[in-house]
């Protein structure tokens, strides 16, 4: 069975005992993303505060969702990775995760990204199954979207018409 390469124990742990689940206050943006081919859903909020240097920090990411183990474990692993990080760094981590998802199972890609992705590197096996990549990416797309909305709301001159979720 190739299945074990996708359903790593660490993924199933995140699925069964998700970290950071639940919608919390305060938040600056809330988004709802779906995977229309299958109905996976996530509602995600970001709370962004400026640190002493004035840089935006992801103080909290809270979420509710339903869907397959991959989509739900992915948002849990993402929570561990990004909370407390400066927003640009969190989004860069998202780019690394995207690279991992495009690796088509190439182990050398996963190896290089181990430090950046921590638990989330366990999703490498998903990259071999094109139909499931969207499941793993959904929460990262939601984070990117919510962060952009929160930041554009904070600086309304840079992006006009930041849509409400």
């Amino acid at each position: 069975m190739q299945l074990e390469s996708m359903y790593q124990e660490i993924i199933l742990d995140h699925y069964r005992n998700p970290h950071g689940r639940g919608l919390r206050e305060p938040f600056e943006a809330e988004v709802h993303h779906v995977n229309p081919t299958c109905g996976d859903e996530v509602t995600l909020r970001v709370h962004i505060e400026n640190d002493t240097a004035g840089d935006p920090i992801l103080s909290d990411v809270s979420y509710e969702g339903m869907g397959c183990s991959i989509s739900q474990a992915s948002v849990s692993a993402m929570y561990d990775l990004v909370v407390g990080k400066p927003v640009p760094e969190a989004l860069e981590t998202g780019e690394h995760f995207m690279t991992l998802m495009q690796s088509k199972g190439d182990a050398s890609v996963a190896e290089k990204l181990e430090d950046e992705l921590e638990d989330a590197v366990a999703f490498a096996g998903v990259s071999k199954y094109p139909a499931r990549i969207k499941c793993a990416l959904m929460s990262w797309m939601a984070l990117k979207d919510a962060s952009a909305r929160a930041l554009s709301a904070a600086h309304p001159t840079t992006t006009p018409g930041g849509a409400e979720a």
């Binding site: 069975m1 190739q2 359903y7 199933l12 859903e41 869907g67 397959c68 183990s69 199954y129 499941c135």
Partner: protein
């Protein structure tokens, strides 16, 4: 209106199957390939698209190799031959549903056929030609669908209502997966212009009682469009007894090629509809100031048609006719009975849809407690069992039954008991893999 028929738990029986599965499998080249490191291909996704027998592939290839040309254009020999084959295919496909050739319109698929009708009904309001306005839909009119429809027989009607100001109404569902006809007489009323209903649900497997719906539509003068995408491939359908005005189905779900579908309409209805797509081959006279159009079916076939696919579909129809649609239906019913019993025997599995084979076709949707359908589909695929997971383009249905998605197995002429055994084994293995084997209850 409906009642639950409970089935004695006698253990699944394998009645002799009406079709010779081994002989049929030999006709489908794809069934000899393997899946995921050498597993036998157990294809249980014919409801999404069917596999193709060699005779269909040969018919397409033969057309391209011997008489490829654009039909209904040109006077050369190839064009004559291509036109002859194309029109002979139309007659074959029409005869399959009891219709004369001039009532058969070729479209890309069922989805396009439904859109053709929906756009014709809104185009009718602004048609310059008086005779095309007969079925115009506008403010104050109503379109009726059901909660069971595939998105293809729902979204085009929502859009028609948005364009015209008409109102969309629908018939709901009962808890056991059937149409709730209790308020048929109020939902279908004198304001109704068209009732669009599926003959067989792609997700629940339910075969709908069309007679009552047709009778009520007749009383109020509404048109009836039947979505036959999941019925025409699997049971005998005869438009002379169906009672509908319009019927759509897709070639690729009935052993034919992709890219060809059929809109059948009573000639009187088709003749009163304005065109949807316009351009070459559907015109009568073209002047810079305006154009007139051909009679049906050409009025609805703009551009060079999907000739090879139409010829392939005729070969598919001939294949099905050789098997006999009565036997195809009986074959799938035996498989469905077996699958329902076997699935009911797995703790944690719940079938979404009618629990027995009464007015039910071979689409079996189910959920497995503790395993999301995507994850289940992944394990099944790893074992060579190809099913559909998700909302099956019928999102309101899964919402109605309170599940995020289902796993669906669909059967066809090459399906045997061994395929269903493979499915059942794979579901049990998935329960073990995810550690969610419920306690056996006797």
């Amino acid at each position: 209106m409906t009642q639950t028929v409970s089935r004695p738990a006698a253990g699944a029986q394998k009645q002799p199957l009406p079709l010779d599965v081994e002989a049929i499998r030999a006709d489908f080249p794809i069934l000899s390939r393997t899946i995921r490191d050498g597993k036998r291909l157990v294809y249980l996704d014919s409801g999404a698209t069917s596999q193709k027998p060699r005779s269909v592939l040969d018919a397409e290839r033969d057309f391209y190799e011997t008489c490829n040309a654009a039909p209904h254009r040109g006077a050369h020999q190839l064009a004559e031959e291509a036109t002859g084959r194309y029109e002979a295919a139309r007659a074959t496909i029409g005869a399959f549903i009891g219709a004369p050739a001039e009532e058969v319109v070729f479209t890309r698929n069922s989805t396009e056929a439904i859109n053709l009708v929906a756009y014709a009904l809104s185009n009718a309001a602004t048609a310059r030609d008086e005779r095309f306005r007969r079925y115009a839909v506008g403010q104050g009119d109503e379109i009726v669908v059901t909660e069971m429809e595939h998105h293809a027989n729902l979204v085009p009607w929502q859009q028609l209502c948005e364009r015209t100001g008409a109102t969309l109404r629908w018939l709901g569902l009962t808890d056991d997966g059937r149409l709730d006809l209790a308020d048929l007489a109020t939902v279908v009323n004198e304001r109704t212009k068209l009732v669009a209903v599926t003959q067989q649900s792609n997700i629940l497997g339910t075969i709908n009682p069309l007679d009552g719906i047709v009778a009520r539509a007749r009383e109020v003068g509404a048109l009836v469009l039947v979505d036959g995408a999941q019925s025409v491939p699997h049971q005998p359908v005869d438009v002379t007894t169906l009672g509908a005005d319009l019927l759509v189905f897709s070639g690729h779900k009935m052993l034919g090629p992709t890219g060809v579908g059929v809109l059948w309409g009573r000639y009187e209805v088709l003749d009163a509809l304005p065109p949807f797509l316009t351009g070459g081959s559907m015109i009568e006279v073209v002047r810079m100031e305006g154009s007139t159009f051909m009679p049906p079916p050409q009025r609805f076939e703009a551009g060079v048609p999907m000739t090879a696919q139409v010829i392939g579909l005729a070969a598919a129809v001939e294949y099905l006719q050789r098997l006999g649609m009565d036997r195809v239906q009986a074959h799938e019913e035996a498989l469905t009975a077996y699958a329902l019993e076997e699935l009911a025997g797995i703790p944690g599995v719940a079938v979404i849809g009618p629990p027995d084979t009464v007015a039910r076709g071979g689409a079996v949707s189910f959920t497995v407690e503790g395993i999301h359908p995507h994850d289940l589909g992944q394990v099944l695929d790893d074992l060579g069992v190809e099913v559909r997971v998700g909302h099956h383009c019928a999102w309101p249905v899964v919402r109605r039954y309170g599940v995020p998605a289902t796993t669906r197995a669909t059967f066809y002429v090459h399906t045997g008991y061994d395929d269903i055994d493979a499915l059942v084994d794979a579901v049990r293995k998935a329960q073990e893999f995810f550690g969610v084997v419920p306690d056996e209850v006797s």
